[in-house]
Point group: C2
Chain length 149, copies 2
DNA sequence: TAACTTATCTACTAATTCTATAGAGTTAAT
DNA sequence: ATTAACTCTATAGAATTAGTAGATAAGTTA
């Protein structure tokens, strides 16, 4: 995950704390989350254009979250800042691209498996929301075997 | 996933077809898998150094797989070529790095969740092996809810 | 209205990573 | 010896990442 995406996540979590309340300044978020301010400005703009936050200019301005924290998923944020969830572009839903090393996509032996991996990854990342981070209790919807990594 | 990692996977699958049999030339793999030969050379060397394949030089030389296809997981190959499985370096097992935007790692609200995501991702990627690709039947060990992506 | 505050937008840059390519060297078979 | 094939290191162009800079627009307050 890119730093940009991680910063976006931290900003959303910070804004999520104030959900339903007042605005937060870029500066406040930059300082409390240790994010370079000018970089954060771009990120907040991206989040605004994607509809997650709204802003107000001038004195007493700032940003506020306008979507329910429980509805903002890690999958969406990842797509917005880091692109495809799929491991290979030829099985991506939102960022499809043909592989130049694959003469016949229909008979590709990788594709079926990678679609399966994509679906499971999506399910995993969709189970994590801004609310998850705010509560600290993962409500991930996929049970995994307990194992040593 | 980088092209290098994808090429490595395809090479392993191709070698997996001959598992227990004879050698394959770099050229054979390059042609059948549509991988730039000189790039593939590097990849096969990496796979050799990691212990997945062995090689023989000179005439009648080539590469052969020396680990069971069922024991070579997507998780391992990903780590070898693309690095960490974790989304953020501060929760990575094999590629740990501290975050410079995190003053106190112990109280980081992202960490617990990202460890959970890492573990589930690892389980997912560990369920896919070279054998999986050879058989075309995913034996992924994590059931996911069927859902529209 | 003027001054001040804060978001908006575009452009730019340095560093790193990715995707190869090049070429010399090494080992083995015939 | 000659040929075939792997081995290793270096290099280079393109793309991406992680910011920085600066001008502009919009809103508040005195």
């Amino acid at each position: 995950m890119s730093k940009k995406c991680k910063y976006a996540l931290k900003a959303l979590i910070r804004l999520g704390k104030e959900y339903g309340g007042g605005n937060l300044l870029t500066d406040d978020i930059a300082i409390s989350e240790h994010i370079p301010k000018k970089f954060l400005e771009q990120i907040l703009l991206d989040l605004k254009h994607a509809g997650y936050v709204r802003s107000k200019q001038g004195s007493k301005g700032g940003y506020r979250l306008v979507q329910e924290p429980s509805q903002i998923t890690l999958a969406e944020i990842h797509r917005l800042f880091d692109g495809a969830i799929a491991l290979v572009p030829c099985v991506s839903q939102k960022f499809y691209e043909a592989c130049d090393d694959c003469p016949d996509e229909k008979s590709c032996r990788l594709k079926k498996i990678f679609i399966d991996v994509r679906e499971k990854t999506y399910a995993l990342l969709s189970g994590v929301t801004i609310k998850t981070f705010l509560e600290g209790s993962p409500t991930l919807n996929i049970p995994a075997k307990k194992q040593k990594i």
